[in-house]
Amino acid sequence: MDLSKYVDLFLSEGREHVAELTGALSEMERAPSSVDAIAAAFRAVHSIKGMAAAMGYTVVTERADALESALDAVRRGDEEVTQSLLGHMIEESDALAREIELAVAQPASTPSASEPAIEQQRTRATHVRVRASRLDSLMNLVGEIEIARGRMERELRRVSDDGLSAAFDSASRLLNELREQVIGARMVPVGQVFERFPRLVRETARSLDKEVDFTLDGAEIELDRSILDRIGDPVMHLLRNALDHGIESAPERQRDGKPARGRLTLSAQREAGYVLIRVADDGRGIDRDRVLARAREAGIVTWATTTLDDVELLRVLAHPGFSTASAVTTVSGRGVGLDVVDAAVRMLGGAIEIKTVGGRGTAITLRLPLSVAIVRALVARVGEELFAIPFTHVLETRAIEPPPEALRGGAWLETDMAGVTARVVMLRTLFGLPPRISEQMLGVSVLARGRRAALMVDGFVGQQDVVVKRFDPPRGGASMFAGATVLGDGSPALIVDVNSLI
């Protein structure tokens, strides 16, 4: 019996039952003793359970079963409908709704532990569990082959043999495909990590006595497992921040003419080679004046600074140890701020963007690469050494007139770039080489931590996909490098951690 033809029906009817369930639960919120509402909720969950069991969706089945038991106790009069029980049931119904979508999105990875599914053999035959470390080794091997390919390509240019070139091209295409496949094998839907957030948001909101509607979008968007594993905590932190500092209490919101219930959205979306994870709230927005005052005191900005735009704001908030929390709350804690999130995202080769409007809300976006293992980079030469600058940060390459102070040997300088003051980093000086200054120098214009800057180099080699080999920074020294790689010609290159230079 082929279950796949029932998937659409399962999904459409499952959604209907979820809608009935949600409706019945909100009816119970209004009239806790409504026998009809309780019965309707029970029936809806019961139907979902039966359907999910038939499809072999164990997780959905178990979730529905637990909720069904709770509703059954209420139905039989063994349990009283309290606000906290209802809150719990609403959470569970949300979780159930998500599990239904997830189960359909990836039916095969749903483990079938208890009840045997009708077509379990089929599932067994087409899916195997693979250790994550094995996928990592595969990825590394692909990276090594990429390097070997680069070397081969150079050799090939010397001999110029048509037959060999054609063979190389087809091997090269196959390698690209292999890389896509290996990256694909490491991808998992973000929903796998995000599923715990609705509950967390509800509990946090309750402990803060705030009313919040939480929405989760794009649970099906896929991300490299190793990245996903590392963004759970940062995202949780952003959600807590939004609940604690962003969304106002119901009376405060009403006083400001806003709906009493705040809105909090966690979304994931694909954009070119990146996945954007966004936490957006409709709260009070970040208080720029307060941040500015603190930043001046802490010496993060000069006293001459009178306003902070979104870009500057992010730079300040991401400054290690910076926090505007005026009181220690059990939720966010003092001193743990955006800097932690920023550091975690940087580690992954990603970047943070922030948008905040006073009284209207804040949206923080994490821009993450699809895969950590391979990064497209600009390869530049400084002295005799080659360095890879990840494209995540590169805006353009251009000729730049170095500021006069460069002659005196400063590594971090400032210049006027298109009307704004931008930082200029003299990489030669920074790397301990004698300065070599000319009127027009080659610069890589970059954007990191919301700031534009120019990295001055001696020459460009080209652009290529580099395999990131991470290493621990030298003890005691702040690392300017995110890792190392081996280029096509076999020469090693350090991968510049652009964030750390800005």
Partner: protein, 120 residues
């Protein structure tokens, strides 16, 4: 002539799946019902050889429906089909007049076995 069946379940999904299983085994589905009340009405109208009956349905539950059907036709052949967790209701169902009990998720072989036994 193949046996006629009335399939009662409030979920389209379940009715579709059950109908598929039964049709593939050569049965003719003569009707479907999504509530207990409709199940009783359809039984009276269609007089099928066999009824599959879900327990949890809106307006009238499956057990009450079986009771009414067997009151109308003591020889009615009804197989209860319900999700696990309802096994406690087996006794009620049998007392109400059901001839057998199949638990979701359905194993096609188990469904057909129960159906054949009831018809045999």
């Amino acid at each position: 002539m193949s046996h006629t069946v009335l399939v009662c379940d409030d979920a389209v999904f379940m009715r579709t799946m059950l109908s598929d299983i039964l049709q593939q085994a050569g049965f003719t589905i003569v009707g479907e019902a999504d509530t207990g009340t409709k199940a009783v009405a359809k039984y009276k109208e269609l007089r099928p050889d066999l009824v599959t009956m879900d327990i949890v349905m809106p307006d009238m539950g499956g057990i009450d429906a079986v009771r009414e059907i067997t009151a109308f036709d003591p020889r009615a052949r009804v197989v209860m089909c319900s999700a696990m967790g309802q096994q406690a209701l087996v006794v009620d169902a049998i007392q109400a007049g059901a001839k057998d009990f199949v638990v979701k998720p359905f194993q096609p072989s188990r469904v057909l076995e129960a159906v054949q036994r009831v018809l045999g």
